[in-house]
């Protein structure tokens, strides 16, 4: 898959209190992506997701230090003023939200979290959200409220087509990852229906083997342009936009 120059949008690193032996430290994760020929990963930290965003961001900064060209950070994000100031110093290209009472107790409503989304909008920072952390109706509200923010939804689930189609049609800055396009010929059917421009490759590594998601992409009967864009071209473009404006 090296020819596709794969940039994996859905990777986490570090110790996990939930996923035990499946979690990988940075060195192990690097070995894993090398094994599968993955060039770069957009990576967030389990500590940010399971515990505290700032603690997780510090751990992420340490973990990506040795491989800054391979590990591109998706920082934990909170709406608090002091947190946003610290986040800005990291010059983020992407952040990953952990909504939910048991995670960061973070709202997607402008009333509570407006400054965070305005910051993302102003600096064209990619906002990454896992489907398990937001309901479809909440996601639609978020996209409606902040139409200039690019949102990347991870792990949509393969039963999501009746939601994804309308979202893609209504929100041009809405993207999703391929990690759970696991139904029969779903990736190529999506490309046929909606185009390839808003699907980015994701593997759910290290909890799941990238071998599965890579095989889905490799065997999809879509154009080479579509494969390259999904494999990494689209994500690189999204992050370049952010870097140039941060």
């Amino acid at each position: 898959m090296a020819a596709l120059n794969v940039f994996d949008a859905n990777v986490r690193v570090g110790h996990s209190g939930i996923h035990g032996q499946l979690a990988l430290e940075a060195g192990e994760l690097l070995e894993e992506i090398n094994h599968f020929g993955i060039e770069q990963v957009l990576v967030s930290h389990f500590t940010a997701e399971e515990y505290d965003a700032e603690e997780g961001n510090r751990a992420l900064a340490r973990d990506i230090e040795k491989s800054p060209d391979r590990f591109i950070p998706a920082w934990g994000a909170l709406p608090d003023k002091a947190f946003l100031e610290r986040l800005a110093r990291r010059k983020p290209a992407a952040v990953r939200f952990s909504f939910g009472l048991k995670k960061h107790n973070l709202s997607y409503a402008p009333l509570y979290s407006g400054p965070l989304y305005e910051y993302l909008e102003e600096h064209s920072i990619l906002a990454v959200i896992a489907r398990e952390d937001i309901e479809w109706d909440g996601l639609a509200q978020l996209l409606q409220n902040f139409p200039r923010v690019s949102f990347l939804l991870l792990e949509t689930g393969y039963r999501a087509e009746r939601y994804l189609g309308p979202l893609l049609k209504s929100f041009p800055r809405f993207y999703f990852d391929s990690s759970t396009l696991l139904a029969h010929r779903q990736l190529e059917s999506f490309v046929e229906q909606f185009g390839y421009e808003r699907i980015v490759f994701g593997s759910r590594s290290p909890l799941y083997t990238p071998g599965a998601a890579l095989a889905v992409l490799a065997t999809a009967r879509i154009s080479d342009d579509a494969k390259r864009a999904i494999a990494g071209g689209t994500l690189r473009r999204l992050l370049r936009t952010a870097s140039s404006e941060t």
Binding site: L22, Y158, Y208, T209, A212, A215
Partner: protein, 259 residues
């Protein structure tokens, strides 16, 4: 990417699904994908039968087998309720394959796999040496993998495939434990959760001889299972057994087909 050996796939379907749109699920479209990935044989069960109506669903399978006898094998899908229907279906479609291929879906049929209404079918499977594919799910009260260990011991001549091997990491652990208790249990790798290292762990725990390639095609993407096997850190001969030879051996055709 395609399989280096022609695949014998133990877990396929025919039909649509209620909760998301099916794509490219006609027999012709399935055959195109099978050719793309080098799946030579696919054993199919009727999705209609799994959800709702076994007699009509099995009749659909009969039509597919009539049109494509060399690429598809047919499971007779049975529901333990109403009592008596299952044995009638087994008799009616006995020409599908010998030994019989039987499919149970205790989750969708909402009846426990170890419940008494399944006993006549288990008895039939035991007498005929049938291959029984059972949908299993992590800790499920109707189809948790551990429920199958005592059933397999009671009916030792039935060859029982744990469909999806319980799906999750914990489900696989339950499947390993069940398989250690009963030598006539086999693991099917189809499913949506391709946990890192689980296939390697399955080989270590139960041996490559008892692991079968399943895709769940055209419900799930067959490339998922293929990618899992090809990228696993196991030996090539173990991959070949999983991809092809183990299921052929269950079907009774391994010696004839293997070169």
């Amino acid at each position: 990417m395609k399989s280096p050996v022609p695949i014998a796939d133990c877990h396929g379907h025919f039909g649509v699904l209620p909760d998301f749109p099916a794509h490219k699920g006609s027999a012709g479209e399935m055959l195109q994908v099978m050719d793309l990935l080098n799946i030579e044989l696919l054993a199919i069960t009727s999705t209609l039968a799994c959800y709702n109506d076994c007699p009509r669903g099995n009749a659909e399978i009969a039509e597919v087998l009539k049109r494509h006898p060399h690429r598809f094998l047919g499971y007779i899908t049975v529901n333990p309720n109403p009592l008596g229907e299952a044995l009638r279906e087994l008799e009616r479609w006995s020409a599908f394959h010998r030994p019989p291929l039987i499919k149970f879906h205790p989750d969708l049929h909402s009846y426990p796999v170890h419940g008494p209404n399944y006993d006549p079918v288990w008895d039939y499977a035991n007498q005929t040496g049938a291959v029984v594919l059972v949908h299993t799910w992590d800790s499920d009260p109707n189809c948790g993998p551990l429920l199958l260990a005592p059933v397999a011991s009671r009916f030792p001549k039935a060859r029982i495939i744990l469909g999806h091997s319980g799906v999750s990491w914990r489900g696989y652990e339950q499947a390993f434990e069940a398989a250690r208790l009963a030598p006539n249990l086999f693991l099917d790798i189809s499913g949506s959760q391709s946990h890192r290292t689980i296939l390697e762990r399955a080989v270590e725990q139960v041996g490559a001889d008892r692991i079968l390639f399943g895709s769940d095609l055209p419900f799930l993407e067959a490339a998922v299972s293929l990618g899992r096997v090809l990228s696993a850190r196991i030996r090539d001969d173990e991959k070949e057994k999983i991809l092809r030879f183990n299921f052929l051996e269950l079907l009774g055709t391994e010696k004839r087909v293997r070169r």
